[in-house]
Symmetry: C2
Subunit: 223 residues, 2 copies
């Protein structure tokens, strides 16, 4: 969790360093299990000194989430610009999401894990940004369905949440250092989802020639 950094004159830099550091601690211990004193200790700033940068502990949590969410939205919008092919747009969506999430692991864990910890206006603000992101995703999926002709056996909303689930769940298991690279991960999840999304209308048709194990003797499902 690191020691106090050498110097950073600019106010904004100090603030962002505190956000980054706090995100690490929140991700590690959980928001409600982290005390302002923990953050003070890790940052080298005094307890009272922190309150010069944040009005409250919850505002600190809010700023972490808002910052990452804006990054995600900006990155996505920039990369989607002037791309028209629906599949490619979906591919970009998945890659963008996972790239940012891998680059900012602590903040992303806080974003997906500590949304419930927000209250009142903070929560409402984040909810609105999340909603915007979700709408973008739904728009892309609608285009894929319309122009690439997937069936409509799967409710779009369910498909979108399934995709978010696949991507966001990575915070529980994916470690960029010891797993496949982010690009390969993103490509695999993209293909996994797209294949199912496009084929979901006629599921079972291409499965007819599925072989079958011989019997209990050969059974590989008994642990």
């Amino acid at each position: 969790m690191g020691q106090a950094a050498p110097v950073s004159t600019n106010h904004q830099e100090k603030l962002e360093r505190l956000l980054e550091l706090s995100a690490e601690i929140f991700a590690d211990k959980g928001y409600h299990n982290t005390s302002i004193r923990d953050i003070a200790r890790a940052s080298g700033v005094s307890l009272a000194g922190l309150y010069y940068y944040f009005r409250s502990k919850e505002e600190l949590l809010f700023r972490i989430q808002e910052r990452l969410l804006r990054t995600v939205l900006d990155d996505l919008r920039r990369r989607l610009d002037d791309v028209h092919d629906p599949r490619e747009r979906l591919r970009i969506f998945v890659h963008s999401h996972l790239r940012v999430f891998a680059q900012r692991r602590p903040a992303m864990k806080v974003l997906v894990h500590e949304y419930d910890s927000l209250t009142g206006e903070h929560r409402e603000h984040i909810r609105a940004l999340r909603h915007e992101y979700m709408e973008t995703c739904l728009g892309i999926l609608r285009d894929v369905r319309r122009f690439c002709g997937s069936g409509d056996a799967v409710v779009l909303r369910v498909a979108a949440f399934a995709l978010f689930g696949m991507m966001n769940w990575t915070y529980t298991w994916y470690r960029p250092e010891q797993d496949v690279s982010v690009e390969r991960l993103a490509e695999q999840l993209y293909r996994l989802f797209l294949g199912g999304f496009l084929r979901s209308g006629d599921a079972g048709r291409h499965l007819d020639r599925c072989a079958e194990p011989l019997g209990p003797g050969d059974a590989p499902w008994r642990s």
Copy 2:
């Protein structure tokens, strides 16, 4: 969150009622943000009285998670018994998981959301049960791949976590009362996953005839 229940003579019944009630509160407020006093108030049992049933707050959390995990594992084993077809086994896996999760929503949120809150032996114990469940899932996916011939472009581990992500993420959005039924949800997620899993080896092949929107004027992705 409910009032104190009328009566329940048996010790085991009282204990399970406390587990169920605590799960609701933990799910609602989060483990670290819930006090034993909250549980005492909601259950009608005195603060000290709770410690007759549990050695500590963490043991309470542990029992909730262990109980649900054993239910999930038992339900799955029972339903997989004497089913050999790999696709059908996968289908049963998804349905079983989501059915139990929908039946016990509070406990399932606690299970997926508060694993990090466990420490020491409690955590290790739950980790082992989770591992067992994951191995069962991997076994099923291995069979599907072997006998139904999906490619191996997607690492099995990634596919398994993607599936878990799709299913577990439901706790953030799925409400059985106002969404599609659990059976339909399970069927959709099953098809979504299986389609992608079987087709992941040759992604793109069946996408060649994908149409394309006309241009920025028609662009549906601009919100």
